[in-house]
């Protein structure tokens, strides 16, 4: 079996992906040029920086700190605002052929609907709701941890657009499955799990939190077992596709997510650990692994741990 006989393509609702490796929101996706570079490096889809209704500078530096086994960031949702972002989406759509998914964050249904409609008008192939940013007051997780709010926002966004709707969830809730089921019931087409995990770094020489916002979101190797658990639990209970994200540095990491039930995965911190070329590397490693293990299609791996489970 040759590498080109191995099929790693996958589907998320109506989105067709040439491989299962997507760019996660927040990494090199604030401007068209960066996204074009990521596309040229083999990403199967791109989720944009989370965009809000108004221009936002984000928090003061330090906004990021590297710790053991990962990175804690608290960027504070910087973005140029939805009006200014149109030209970036239009340009990246013109120069690439992969799905571009617009990530949005809002305070309420009205803001989310306005943002989703704009993204669709600009040419985005899907919309991802950021209901999980762990560090922005009044946004993200503060909304995404409340099932009733999640249900209302998902339902109203779904009725205002005709492109697929992804809902990105946080692991910082008592029961992520309940939130995922609420999203599915209200019309979500795809679940993305998980956003970064609330965390903190204190500098012991000064006795100060390093991040200006004090608390941030932990990503990288340390959170992979958390993400895999969430994807496993969600996949068991919902019928819509699940996208895994959190701590994927190698194809083996991604395979864990596929076996847990993920139809695709998103790559973030690995752009730091393995470079912009990480997408190509991961797809080649995945094909090599599948060849060694006698799998021809990615679909044969997806949900394997679900099928093998007892009870």
């Amino acid at each position: 079996m040759k590498n080109d006989e191995i099929d790693t393509s996958t589907r998320l609702s109506t989105l067709v992906l040439k491989n299962p490796f997507m760019l996660a929101s927040g990494i090199m996706d604030e401007d068209a040029g960066s996204m074009i570079r990521i596309a040229k490096n083999g990403a199967a889809a791109i989720i944009t920086k989370s965009i809000g209704t108004k221009q936002r500078e984000g928090y003061a530096n330090p906004t990021i700190v590297e710790v053991d086994c990962g990175i804690i960031n608290s960027m504070g949702l910087p973005n140029p605002g939805i009006e200014a972002y149109g030209e970036e989406i239009k340009l990246v759509k013109k120069k690439t052929s992969i799905p571009i998914i617009g990530s949005i964050f809002g305070r309420d249904e009205k803001e989310f609907c306005l943002l989703a409609k704009k993204m669709e008008t600009y040419g985005a192939d899907a919309v991802e709701l950021n209901l999980s940013c762990p560090h922005a007051k009044g946004y993200g997780l503060e909304i995404g941890s409340n099932p009733e709010k999640v249900g209302n926002i998902v339902a109203s966004v779904k009725s205002s657009i005709s492109i697929p709707l992804l809902v990105k969830l946080s692991p910082n809730v008592t029961d992520i499955v309940e939130i995922a089921k609420t999203a599915e019931k209200n019309g979500a087409d795809i679940i993305t799990a998980v956003n970064s995990v609330k965390a903190m770094k204190i500098d012991i020489e000064t006795g100060l939190p390093v991040l200006s916002n004090k608390i941030g979101g932990y990503s990288g190797r340390a959170i992979k077992p958390i993400g895999v658990r969430c994807v496993y639990e969600i996949s068991k209970e919902v019928d819509i596709p699940v996208v895994g994200v959190g701590g994927i540095l190698t194809a083996e990491d991604a395979i864990e997510y596929f076996m847990a039930g993920a139809s695709a995965v998103q790559i973030g911190s690995a752009v730091y650990y393995r470079g912009v070329e990480v997408f190509k590397k991961l797809n080649n490693e995945l094909k090599e692994w599948m060849k060694r293990h006698g799998y021809r299609k990615l679909l044969d791996i997806i949900g394997l741990a679900q099928k093998n489970r007892r009870g």
């Binding site: 927040g26 990494i27 090199m28 996706d29 604030e30 401007d31 040029g33 960066s34 996204m35 074009i36 570079r37 990521i38 920086k49 221009q55 936002r56 500078e57 984000g58 003061a60 530096n61 330090p62 906004t63 990021i64 700190v65 590297e66 710790v67 990175i71 960031n73 960027m75 910087p78 973005n79 140029p80 605002g81 200014a84 770094k201 500098d203 020489e205 000064t206 100060l208 390093v210 200006s212 973030g268 911190s269 752009v271 730091y272 912009v276």
Partner: protein, 265 residues
């Protein structure tokens, strides 16, 4: 093993030096060796801000960075004294690559601070020669002149208070028209660098420029400092070759603010 310190390392300031009015150098010991001229550090002013600073002094004993008091963060840095503490991570970015034997270095304002250790590195090899152009608005803004006392240094001032009257790029063009150089290296205001890069590109002289952008993560992740087709100033730069810069339409024209919105240079 990585040469970088990736989590802010608290260091004690060994010394400070006022270089000119509102321009200061802070010296400290830093465990990461082999810093390449042109690389930068992220300097954490605990409790206030974290900003990129290119290294202006590199030796085995200590390193230093030189800055002008312009905003809240640099004002706070300016007030720091010996034995005060700052957090440092890095070195980040690529740094300059010296090519050939006869090199022209063009610095505008505090851009010269980034170039100073490069000039010393160029001269550490016997057969290399360097001509330095240092452009400032007026005589009082000059610094490092003692440090450069044995160097072929040409000064330009906007007001003509010393040296060539005019901007550094004009003086550079005059010199390039009269002499051949293997390479030109520049750091300073972007409009000045744009002119120098254009001059060199049209004459096919290898040229490098060190760019400045709003930097947040410093490690090539957040995308804040991207230019052209996803070139990260913090990771793929800050030093770029002339042929790369020729393909970056915004070079010399616009940058992005903290929100990612375009603003004119």
């Amino acid at each position: 093993m990585k040469n970088e310190i990736t989590c802010p390392r608290i260091v004690e300031i060994k010394n400070t030096k006022i270089e000119a009015k509102n321009i200061k150098t802070i010296f400290f010991n830093f465990p990461s060796k082999n810093i390449i001229p042109g690389q930068f550090l992220m300097i954490w002013i605990p409790g206030l801000d974290e900003i990129p600073m290119s290294v202006s002094y590199i030796s085995d004993r200590e390193i230093g960075f030189t800055f002008r008091k312009v905003g809240e963060a640099t004002r706070a840095l300016y007030d720091l004294k010996k034995r005060d503490k700052i957090g440092v991570r890095g070195p980040y970015g690529n740094g300059f690559t010296i090519k050939g034997e006869k090199i022209l270095v063009v610095g505008g304002g505090t851009g010269i601070a980034t170039l100073a250790p490069l000039i010393e590195k160029i001269l550490s090899t016997k057969k290399r020669r360097v001509t330095v152009i240092f452009g400032v608005k007026t005589k009082d803004e000059l610094f490092f002149t003692r440090r450069f006392r044995n160097i072929d240094l040409k000064i330009s001032t906007d007001d003509g208070s010393i040296g060539f009257k005019g901007v550094a790029s004009e003086l550079a063009e005059k010199i390039i028209n009269n002499e051949d150089f293997d390479q030109v290296i520049t750091c300073g205001p972007e409009k000045m660098m744009k002119k120098i890069v254009d001059i060199c590109n049209s004459r096919k002289i290898p040229v490098q420029a060190s760019l400045e952008r709003y930097i947040k993560c410093g490690i090539g992740l957040c995308g804040q400092c991207c230019i052209g087709e996803g070139l990260r100033v913090c990771k793929d730069g800050p030093v770029f070759e002339g042929d790369t810069l020729a393909k970056i339409p915004e070079f010399g024209y616009f940058k992005r603010d903290a929100s990612g919105r375009k603003i004119k240079i």
